[in-house]
Amino acid sequence: MTRLPLFRRSPVADFAVEPRVARRVDLVHKQIDIVDLFQSVVSPAAGAVSLFIGTVRDVNDGRAVSGIDYEAYHSMAQAELERIVEEVETGTEGLSIAVVHRLGTLAVGEISVAIAAAHPHRAAAVKASQLVIEQLKQRVPIWKQEHYIDGDRKWIDPTSPLR
């Protein structure tokens, strides 16, 4: 079962070996486990956990998509995601946020990104998960190359006026 680093167990002792705040961001090449993500933020103080889950869509700009390759500038993507989580958590007291982004080749329907935000109240939790995904899309150096069913491939440029 996939475990987030936050909850990674010591091989010799059954307790979390890393402090809860040490790592809330992960870039992974395996399937994202949203239950683990949820468990990494939920606490008795949380009255709401907002989960955002991004998945691979089968059509983009009218073209049939068969899959997507995700690539990252790994060290910076990790650092930038940590900065985003830090900023959003600092903006609202009581938030606990975790983010996982998948890399590599994904099929249609697979989860590419998941964000969990816990807060005592739902409005703050929902707002936080939305803020994180919007910031992620603007600031985090991750790219996707779409594969189309006709065999063509294209790097996606969200800033292109052609889109």
Partner: protein, 81 residues
């Protein structure tokens, strides 16, 4: 002396490489590095002001100075999520 520059995704395709040594003596500016990159094959297709990161931090100021051992990356428009 030269400055190593990292490329990703469409820019790695553009230059046919993920890392090029740019023949400049640091300290030098980001604008100078980008200008030098335009002379490499594929470099003519770089946008006017490509996104740049230095030491894993966005660097919007083209006149910012790069020091020896800084990690410089020229970054295509991001598309995560």
């Amino acid at each position: 002396m030269s400055v190593p520059v990292l490329f990703f995704a469409s820019y790695a395709d553009l230059f046919g490489s993920r890392r090029l040594m740019v023949p400049l003596e640091p300290p030098c500016t980001i604008a100078e590095i980008v200008q030098a990159l335009r002379l490499f094959p594929g470099g003519e297709r770089l946008p006017g002001r490509p996104l740049v990161a230095v030491n894993q931090v966005w660097m919007l100021d083209q006149q910012a100075v790069v020091q020896p051992d800084d990690e410089v990356a020229i970054i295509p428009p991001v598309a995560g999520g």
